[in-house]
Symmetry: D3
Subunit: 106 residues, 6 copies
Amino acid sequence: MKEDVFYGKGMAHVKKDYPDIYDSVVELNKAAYTGKALDYKTQKLIALAITAANSDDRAMKKQMMSAMREFDATRDEIVDVLRVVLLTSGMPPFTKAMRILYELTE
Amino acid sequence: MKEDVFYGKGMAHVKKDYPDIYDSVVELNKAAYTGKALDYKTQKLIALAITAANSDDRAMKKQMMSAMREFDATRDEIVDVLRVVLLTSGMPPFTKAMRILYELTE
Amino acid sequence: MKEDVFYGKGMAHVKKDYPDIYDSVVELNKAAYTGKALDYKTQKLIALAITAANSDDRAMKKQMMSAMREFDATRDEIVDVLRVVLLTSGMPPFTKAMRILYELTE
Amino acid sequence: MKEDVFYGKGMAHVKKDYPDIYDSVVELNKAAYTGKALDYKTQKLIALAITAANSDDRAMKKQMMSAMREFDATRDEIVDVLRVVLLTSGMPPFTKAMRILYELTE
Amino acid sequence: MKEDVFYGKGMAHVKKDYPDIYDSVVELNKAAYTGKALDYKTQKLIALAITAANSDDRAMKKQMMSAMREFDATRDEIVDVLRVVLLTSGMPPFTKAMRILYELTE
Amino acid sequence: MKEDVFYGKGMAHVKKDYPDIYDSVVELNKAAYTGKALDYKTQKLIALAITAANSDDRAMKKQMMSAMREFDATRDEIVDVLRVVLLTSGMPPFTKAMRILYELTE
């Protein structure tokens, strides 16, 4: 389900202990991914791009897995995202992302 | 032309005074945007997303203009990019990006 | 009103043209500032701290104005926030924030 | 002691091998946390907020532990800090921080 | 003087109104730039690199001016710093820095 | 070799599967480190500074190792880099970098 995309361990606790936060996150996710003009897969690749540009290991890994499992994103598609990360954000986030991508796909 | 995408004032000087840097940037741009699996427009929207997530006024403005002029990106398409920025990067970059988008489109 | 805190020009357009995003932002703001244990003023000072640490001129200015107008935050209180910014984020964001603070208070 | 707050392994070496740096850090900490208007606990929660917004695992964990041990900060208080992180910095730093918080409190 | 390097408008107010912060900043600057092994000019170029990598307009401009005025840094030396910014941090901070550099040197 | 500097596991895959990206990265590295006015070691210390300021564990570790092995950089030289990181970027990246440096040198 769309609502589960960003939800890991932390969010399970949030749902139980802080339902008002949880509900607002569900609303936020719905508004974020109910695009009018871009399809959901493209939006997920954009989320992947932003987390990779931020060099955020866990977040980009989660986004890569979700892109491959939920949307059948190919390695080439993800590499095309990372090409833009290289251009806009430099070598360190790019090499980190390539390493994580190959760990996931080999 | 694809090579001119990120090139503003600064790069004109680079071309003249530091041709080795200029040439490497041209190569980098080619490699970045010669995607195998995603089309060029999608890659440009990804670049837009990353600069917006970084709250970089000038860079996101340049990307928005380039997306609209070169690829006929609509406001709805750009807003769909910014929905993901809101989710992944919070309110300050989102509101900044919305303000710049409306300045460009009104 | 609490809901208007982060809302500038960009959000007026969002309300009119993208009401689903607007509604989710309203929910998010409610969940963010309906603290259980910290008062609202403290939470606003935390938002100020984060935007100042990010060197985001406009966002920190908006937060400073809102802290002073809505919560009667004093200059000393804001400087106490910026002391922590200096320690955790270094001189450039600190000096930028001090300049903006004095432009607002003189 | 206040001076030990940010000081982990690295700083023990600094104290021994680079006493001039160590002394300046001690002064900086004193100036940072000798607030005039905010209490020390609030300032610590602000430091926690900034490290969480930066998605810095170790630093936010250290700040959470210090807030709970030295200032009896409750989980609800820390969640109130993280609510602001969600609003200003998006889902990835928020979910990371919630996961770390629950690892510390369970 | 070394102590004045980072000090702009904001710091004049700090000196007068918050002398404890000012003193700690002076100590911090001394410790930062009293290198044992690298000369002061190299350290200033490193500060320039960090502010440029962060896309911080004002801070990088101040660092460039200070490098040129106090240390007779040439444009070629600063460009050599920015080459590393391009590699590690991508095109947007590089083009911004080149634009600012040429505005200062023309 | 200069070209190998930033190249870890990820880049071995890139060379084999995405040779156009690999070639552009080689060109970029050449342009980055073929300085006109600063020597290569200084440029490497600048790359170290930027990765340390970004709190990027792996990247700064790789840069420290490369600086020590390829350029006989001493611990004092690296600490002089980190002094500037402390001043410009605050305590969390500084203490992280000091910890990593001592793990490498002890």
